[in-house]
Amino acid sequence: MAVDNIVFLIPALPVLAFVLTLAFGKKLPSGGGYIPILAIAISCIISILAFLQIHSTDIPIPIEVSAHWFSVLNVGIFIDPLASVMLLMVSFVSLLIHIYAIGYMAHDPGKPRYFAETALFTAAMLGVVLADNILQFFISWELVGLCSYLLIGFWFRKPTAAAAGKKAFLTTRVGDVLFLAGIVILYSSMRDVFLERFPAGIPDGTYLLQFSTIFENISHIDPTHLTIITLLFFGGAVGKSGQFPLHVWLPDAMEGPTTVSALIHAATMVTAGVYLVARTFPMFIASPAVELAGITIPATLTVVAYIGGFTALFASTMGLVMNDLKRVLAFSTISQLGYMMLALGMGSVIGAAAVGFAMFHLINHAFFKACLFLCAGSVIHSTGTNDLREMGGLMSKMKITGITMLFASLALAGIGIPFINKIVGFPVGTSGFVSKDAIILDATYVFSHMTHDWIPFAFGILAALLTAIYTFRLWFMAFTGKPRQERHPHESPATMTGVLSILAIFALVFGMLTFHPFLDFVGHTYDSHEIEHLAGLGGNPILEHPDHEIHHIVDTASPIIILLPVIVGVGGLLLAWIIYNRRWISVASIGNMRNPIFKILAKRYYQHEIFIELISMKFTYGVLALTGEFSDRKIVDGIIDGISSFIIGGAEVLKKIQTGVVQNYATATVLGVGLIALILSFKGVI
């Protein structure tokens, strides 16, 4: 059990690397970049050891390390299958991105700061993954937010970068506040539960916010509270994972170095929201639809599915028209995160297997999205521009980048060969095909057969079409055709292309090779928590043997449904090829401001106008802030000022009595005494 004793090193080493790099980075080669790489490499190795230990038994036994903190709270590490796969992905992808950054950031004077911050970023994310209680989770979660702020605004002298950092921080903060509110309500609910069970006081060694304690007591928590708590948690996830309507920060987060974008999008930040929902999945599935103040709140997982599906479609439409290479990828991330949320939302029917689907897509997405971003970084590094319109014909100059990016694009678009899984026993195709089509297919059946609701499926399939179009639009515009501007691109150094190749291989084959083992392994995460019973509490019509039933449904489905995701993927590819490579249809005839659809997309649904100018300037500033200012300055201050001026005015009058003439005082004294004497004599005292 040696691994138990060293798992704490997984987040501790990157923290140490953060301190060392910050302190001594300037004196070391490459700005001290090798320290975080070494630290994260060791973290990665320990993660692998932990994974192997959990995986060695038939039914995974989680690694649990816990220490008393104070009162009814603890600190601890909890690695179950869910955490373990996440841990592997975060440490591995982060390691690759750090290695790549040595080449990418070679010419930047701020290297020590960069490497220190990315090390802390990774440590914070590892902390999120390892947390065994919701409070520790939240602390790491906030650290992730802080690091993202620092790194997005890494080039803080550039006003847009500073603004983007601030926007990311404030937008995710909206979610964080909701999350914190959820934790507070959860804590008070848990305390009530325990005080009812132990009227004499909560026994020592019971930690109210520990995940295992929470899950064991879900059935005792008031259902209304549970729904509110999970909705608030989901609010936090919406902020962190860039779901509608808090997705606005992600496209702007492109202002940081591309490697930071890769970290945020693949490994360390946006996946935290999906992980939160997956981590607290037993709570989500047990949350029923409740009626609150006359308003019916749907079951949380239904909300998750709808928000996820809508985000997947919504973001992909905007990805179609962006000209900034990285922005296209940013919208694709939002869209893919929407898929993950959609997959989690399916938990209302297929139970804990949904966590497996979501995590599988999360991991695959991490590989191909990291690859896409790093390829984009390679392109930007060599051409010096982000603008797709200024690129073109890069394939001849940057072969490795071009090919790796093509692989990653195929993965993102979900291109693969259907039906072959019945022959070879596993799905054949890029990792995006394996995981995304699994989600779309399951969504089809889950929602059409169980809840008679086609909308999430429609979101999913439309988004898949658009994803294929914008992905290959990007690739064709950048790598094929003639160079549209005189530049001198060159292939990137070996540290960069090496990383790209590794990631591209993962993007191609990871999904194929691990599909069934992965789902089996992660599917064991919530074995001990009686998901069926919890689903009953939440009123979710969960299947008894989801694996069998889904296989059965998929096997008996009409082939067109199974083919549809591939058809839209290939169709999107061809459409992009026709428009952006062969140019049989003129781009200018569609993509101009006279086309209302193009205009609304290019303007990004006027989100800037709505969020910034309408909500924040007009409403928040114009109405709320100015009302607040008026009531503060005029009403509150007015009362205080009024009291003081009344007293001052009164004193002005009264002070005239003090003449300073002794005779007046003497007269007053004598008259006063005389008056008292008179009164007393009338009363008969004297």
Binding site: K655, K656, Q658, T659, G660, V661, V662, Q663, A666, T667, V670
Partner: protein, 100 residues
């Protein structure tokens, strides 16, 4: 022996003269003297009642009162002396520096 009311009338007259002086006069010294008059009026009352009731308490009290008057006069005149040094007169109307 004269009835006690005679003494009281005299004392009342003296007291009124003193009180009137305090209220109307301007000179500090004159005011001090008027205060002495008022104190002495009280002393007369004390002595009158003491002899009327054939008790010694009143006599003792008057001695206290005289001692107090002496002390008051000493302080009062010292204050008036220092006022005179700075203002060259002892007109009480001019001494109003602590007024608003």
């Amino acid at each position: 022996m004269l009835p006690v009311s005679y003494y009281l009338i005299v004392a009342a007259i003296v007291f009124c003269i003193g009180a009137y002086g305090v209220m109307t006069l301007r000179s500090g010294i004159m005011i001090m003297m008027c205060i002495e008059l008022m104190l002495n009026a009280a002393n007369i009352n004390l002595i009158a009642f003491a002899s009327h009731f054939s008790q010694v308490n009143g006599h003792v009290f008057v001695l206290f009162s005289i001692a107090l008057a002496a002390a008051e006069a000493a302080i009062g005149f010292a204050i008036l002396m220092s006022i005179f040094r700075s203002k060259n007169n002892v007109n009480i109307d001019n001494i109003n520096i602590l007024r608003w």
